[in-house]
């Protein structure tokens, strides 16, 4: 007999993983505050991958709409066939804080992520991939008709 609880459990209290994240702000598990607060792509990139210079790569595939009718919900998919991927990050060049999301990729994960982001205005969307200790990037302009940051 399978315990129903195992199928769907909603806990009000933090799980051990979440508790660890909150308890050790200085560790690599912590939310990258400097990167998220950065106001330029260069600063965000430097905070995420110190000392690394992202090279444009055709092996980083960024799927984004040409035109986003609603800047509040822009679907983005980043995938790559580069080996040893450890991180995928998504930035919007003209957002006040360009870094939208940063994903730490375990080897058990396929290096592909889909997420929905906010864009304040027409801008380049940049995908950064850290693979084999080096960083690579791809970018695409997404036109936005109604901006999605300020309500």
């Amino acid at each position: 007999m399978i315990n129903r609880r195992k199928f769907l459990t909603v806990l009000g209290a933090a799980s051990p993983v979440v508790a660890a994240l909150m308890a050790f702000p200085g560790t690599v598990l912590a939310w990258a505050e400097n990167a998220f607060k950065a106001t330029s792509v260069e600063d965000a990139e430097a905070a995420l991958f110190p000392g690394s210079q992202a090279q444009p790569s055709g092996q980083v595939k960024l799927k984004a709409p040409q035109i986003a009718e609603n800047g509040a919900v822009v679907p983005i998919t980043v995938s790559t066939d580069l080996p040893d991927v450890s991180n995928i990050s998504v930035l919007v060049e003209k957002n006040p804080n360009p870094l939208c999301a940063s994903f730490k990729i375990d080897p058990a994960l396929q290096p592909e992520i889909s997420v929905r982001i906010r864009m304040g205005e027409t801008s380049n969307v940049i995908a950064l991939v850290e693979a084999g200790g080096k960083t690579y990037q791809a970018s695409q302009e997404v036109k936005v008709t109604i901006g999605g940051c300020g309500g």
């Binding site: 195992k6 199928f7 769907l8 459990t9 909603v10 806990l11 209290a13 933090a14 799980s15 993983v17 979440v18 994240l21 909150m22 598990l29 939310w31 990258a32 998220f36 509040a72 919900v73 822009v74 679907p75 998919t77 919007v92 957002n95 006040p96 804080n97 870094l99 939208c100 999301a101 940063s102 994903f103 730490k104 990729i105 375990d106 058990a108 994960l109 396929q110 592909e112 992520i113 889909s114 997420v115 929905r116 982001i117 906010r118 864009m119 999605g148 940051c149 300020g150 309500g151």
Partner: protein, 99 residues
């Protein structure tokens, strides 16, 4: 948080939809006051006791965050644990079984 997951040939596609206002801190309410930033900061997915994905979000992730990813070596019946914590210390944890 709604989680859908289906495994085929040991590869499980996972889609999730978290319920969260994801306030950017830039929008104003009806009285003209700034609504403070309130957003998920970190979301994790655990499979077989290992964290396979750590997703850090800023304020530029859309309201009710949607995320899709694929786990290798995940079979039907495996249990996934999805957790998030936001910038105000709120959190949610959900367990979902791979279909």
């Amino acid at each position: 948080m709604k989680v859908k997951s289906r495994s085929k040939n040991g590869i499980a596609k996972v889609k999730l939809l978290a319920k969260h206002p994801m306030h950017t801190g830039r929008a104003k309410d009806a009285d003209g006051n700034l609504i403070p930033a309130h957003h998920i900061q970190t979301l994790t997915c655990e499979h077989k006791g290992k964290v396979v994905l750590t997703a850090d979000f800023g304020t530029s992730v859309s309201k009710d965050p949607y995320l899709a990813f694929t786990i290798k070596g995940a079979e039907s019946g495996d249990v996934l644990k999805l957790s998030w914590v936001d910038n105000l210390g709120e959190s949610e944890t959900v367990e979902a079984t791979v279909g």
